[in-house]
């Protein structure tokens, strides 16, 4: 009986090698879904962040994306809807000919030819090489030219002193701000924005975000399924946010 369970020299070596190989080699076979940019590296132009929004899937009355954005970036307001900051908002649009009503999430369209950057007198409004249009609030003087130039009303101005900012999204009085594709998440290797994550969790899956140069990214898959179009294509701004079924 005892000889049956006794570990032989041969058995010990075989078993230990198989256990070690499991521990060391098998994790390497499954590469992570998306490699994160190392923190010390600068962003490169071969990354092209983009978003595709399927308007038919966007549910009326649902504000999951807006709420997630507010929580992620600490965009609490003063109950003054006219002036409170909104980086993403829901619009209701109606076709004049058919009277068909649709709801559209509207955010910074991250144009490749951004009019906000053209008019900025200090260069605070800029386009990062990976395609994210954002405000450098250290050099923003609050003139609001960019807000007038933006055809989508995507930008907001902070009118009042703030105290409860979150660490990952500094913002303050006298500066213009807008959606930055959750740049802090992206730089830390998280390949999703707060609004996309919320929309997925809610089960609507209307928002797809990702890297255009990665053929397997969610945004590329969404672009393949349905034809997308840019809003106000006549302005040839080449937005990175596109809409389908609109």
């Amino acid at each position: 009986m005892s000889t049956d369970i006794k570990l032989t020299r041969r058995g010990f070596i075989v078993k230990s090698i198989s256990v070690l190989s499991t521990v060391y080699f098998i994790p390497d076979l499954f590469a992570p879904a998306q490699a994160a940019k190392p923190l010390h590296e600068e962003v490169k132009s071969d990354t092209k962040w983009a978003m595709s929004i399927d308007v038919d899937k966007c549910a009326s009355g649902c504000t999951a994306c807006v709420d997630a954005c507010v929580e992620e970036n600490g965009l609490y307001g003063f109950d003054r809807p006219e002036t409170d900051s909104q980086w993403i908002r829901k619009l209701t649009i109606k076709d004049i000919k058919t009277d068909k009503v649709k709801v559209v999430p509207m955010l910074c369209q991250h144009c490749e030819n951004p009019p906000c950057c053209d008019v900025c007198p200090t260069g605070a409004s800029f386009r990062r090489v990976d395609g994210i249009v954002m405000v450098n609030q250290h050099t923003c003087i609050g003139c609001r030219y960019c807000m007038m130039a933006c055809p989508f009303k995507a930008r907001s101005f902070v009118h009042e002193n703030l105290t409860e900012q979150v660490t990952t999204a500094p913002r303050g009085k006298g500066c213009v701000e807008s959606c930055n594709f959750c740049v802090n998440r992206i730089d830390h290797g998280i390949p999703t924005t707060a609004c996309e994550e919320a929309c997925m969790k809610e089960g609507h899956k209307a928002i797809s975000f990702g890297d255009l140069s990665d053929p397997n990214s969610r945004v590329n898959k969404a672009l393949k399924i349905k034809q997308n179009r840019r809003l106000r294509a006549d302005l040839s701004l080449k937005q990175r946010v596109t809409y389908s079924n609109i």
Binding site: H40, T168, D187
Partner: protein
Amino acid sequence: MYQLAIRLLLVIVFIISPDIYSHDGINHSIKGKSKADDAAQCVEPTELMQKEHFVFLYHQRDKTVINGVRTKNHSFANCIDCHVSYDEVGEPIPINSEGQFCQTCHVQTAVNIDCFSCHASVPRGRKPEAHISLNYNHLEDQVSQEIEKLVSYVEGVK
């Protein structure tokens, strides 16, 4: 003679007193306890940090905002994370409030800082590191399922 000696002594004490009261080598008496209290040294030598910390911050801020570099060493969020004091209940005390890390020196040197009109003066909100460990593959899976459904539907129609 005795009075002269005392006067001389007072003059000497008066002259050397600025050295005694300078910050070098003397511990700050900041209310609360911070992570930095237990650290042997800051990210650079202490003397360098006292004189040049804003140079590091300016340099890093442009690299971060424009180029997306998010290294920890000279990051403003990391400064606050380490140097912010916590009271007895464990609540962080704003780092720019009276008697706290930033304010003690900046009051003495009469240099006004407006970092905290925009930046959070206590660690607040989600930590970026907390999300990295999470797996986002389920999002990919959901989209893949969607595509499969669509493909099977199209084939069914044919």
